[in-house]
């Protein structure tokens, strides 16, 4: 039997590195598209017609109210019964986008509500249409205010991306679980995979802090330039 260090370098690292790449491929589109979806839904939940608002509120309530695992089961195992088939990767990414979109929309909604009415009035008084006002005045301010919350959601996403293995997408956790089952060395394998996730969330935290600095504007809380 390999020593712990040898097992780590010879078996765990090569295996998990393969999973790591797939995990990154899951996280990146889920984070970006999920955020954009959240901005879109959050905006509709504040500025949409009453009917659209209702629809989006129901969407958010369902996504937030049903466990993500169940949603993934439905996407991957449930939908084929009505003729909709997804690849494991597609099902996972789709599930994560829908989920983080709903959560992001809540942060964005809160930020939108905090924009002073005077900002909208000033835009209307200059001849902006409602859509132009939302697009060029309200959303740019709201996104900055929502960024810390949305960053938090992206950190969550990195961790719940581990659920992708449930729909047979062999990312980090999937690889780890397979290796552990094969070798019965659960402690080492799961300890290592924990470190991999810690690495990912640390990188994400740096990226988000950089982005916040990049977008920071005097008067929008936090340290100004």
């Amino acid at each position: 039997m390999l020593s712990t260090m040898d097992f780590f370098w010879e078996r765990i690292v090569p295996n998990l590195d393969k999973g790591l790449w797939l995990t990154v491929q899951i996280i990146a589109p889920s984070a970006i598209i999920g955020f954009l979806l959240g901005v879109f839904i959050g905006t509709l939940r504040v500025f949409g017609s009453p009917k659209i608002r209702k629809v989006m509120d129901v969407y958010t309530a369902i996504i937030r109210g049903v466990p993500l695992v169940v949603q993934l089961f439905i996407l991957y195992f449930g939908l084929p019964s009505i003729g909709i088939y997804f690849q494991p990767y597609t099902a996972a990414v789709l599930g994560f986008i829908l989920c983080s979109g709903a959560y992001h929309s809540e942060y964005i909604r809160g930020a939108l509500l905090s924009i002073k009415q005077g900002q909208l009035k000033a835009a209307y008084a200059l001849g902006f249409t409602r859509v132009q006002t939302i697009l060029w005045i309200v959303v740019p301010q709201a996104v900055r205010r929502a960024l810390p919350g949305c960053g938090n959601e992206i950190i969550y996403l990195i961790k719940y991306s581990s659920l992708a293995y449930i729909v047979t997408c062999m990312e980090l956790t999937g690889k780890a679980k397979a290796l552990a089952a094969q070798t019965f060395r659960f402690t080492e394998v799961f300890f290592a995979v924990g470190l991999y996730y810690l690495f990912l969330t640390t990188v994400a935290t740096w990226l988000l802090a950089w982005l916040e600095r990049r977008l920071s504007i005097p008067g929008f809380g936090g340290k100004s330039r």
């Binding site: 900002q119 000033a122 835009a123 008084a125 200059l126 902006f128 301010q141 005097p218």
Partner: protein
């Protein structure tokens, strides 16, 4: 004859329609009558000053002029053309022609001074970024803020913010500018710089309607003072006639009490 009617008669004799014409504007908000069939014609180059106690309807009346607030009844016409408040295109056109300055400035917090002025030129007038920012710099120069162009609102004083707001309105080439107590939110020592800019505008012939408590300013520059109380214009006239020492007008009474404070 009621003053409004006399006014309407006078206007039929002038060759140009008034720049802005408000006819019988009424509005009820929250069960309270805010404006009670108020009318006003503004001719080119005039400076009309609205005064009166808070809650008298000045601010609502101003916001009806660019239809930020839709009146329950009455009509708004710009250069003789009546504007349908439910036609969105017409509304946007009206608002491009009618600039507005707010008491609390309402600069866009996420944009620098120059971008605050340029954004409507780009997004509403469809100008290129270069052309819009060049025009914006020109307007900032007019209000003496060329050196503050790249500062964000959080780094500007109240007086500077209000001057940027004036530059932003001017950049749209408005036919008339509405000023809703433009100096009321300012520290006393900053009032002068803003009034100086407005004075220059008045002297250059800009048509303006201004709600204010700055009576010295109004007396010196107003073509007409309108005293509003409880949703009505209860007195109107030149500063000389309303504020003459021997006139027993409500306006004079109000101004004396303002001066006593």
């Amino acid at each position: 004859m009621r003053p409004e009617y006399r006014y309407a008669l006078m206007n039929t004799q002038t060759p140009h329609p008034p720049v802005l014409s408000m006819r019988n504007i009424s509005i009820t908000l929250g069960g309270r009558k805010i404006l009670n069939s108020v009318s006003l014609d503004v001719e080119r180059g005039e400076l009309k000053v609205l005064i009166g106690p808070s809650g008298g309807g000045k601010s609502t009346f101003l916001q009806c002029m660019n239809l930020l607030v839709t009146p329950d009844a009455g009509s708004v016409s710009i250069e003789g053309a009546s504007v349908n408040p439910h036609d969105k295109k017409a509304l946007c056109r009206l608002r491009q022609d009618v600039g507005m300055i707010f008491q609390d400035f309402n600069l866009f917090d996420h944009l620098t001074a120059v971008k605050n002025v340029a954004i409507a030129l780009r997004r509403v007038k469809g100008m290129s970024r270069e052309a819009a920012e060049e025009r914006a710099m020109h307007e900032l120069g007019r209000v003496g803020l060329t050196d503050k162009a790249d500062l964000y609102p959080a780094h500007l004083s109240g007086g500077q913010k209000q001057r940027v707001a004036i530059a932003r309105a001017l950049a749209m080439d408005p036919k008339v500018i509405l000023l809703d107590e433009p100096t009321s939110a300012l520290d006393p020592e900053l009032v002068g710089e803003v009034l100086a800019v407005i004075r220059d505008l008045a002297k250059s012939g800009m048509t303006m309607i201004m709600a204010t408590h700055q009576m010295d300013f109004a007396t010196a520059l107003a073509s007409e003072i309108l005293f509003m109380e409880q949703g009505n214009i209860i007195e109107r006239g030149t500063p000389g006639s309303l504020l003459a020492p021997d006139s027993a007008t409500r306006t004079r009474d109000f101004c004396t009490r303002l001066a006593d404070m």
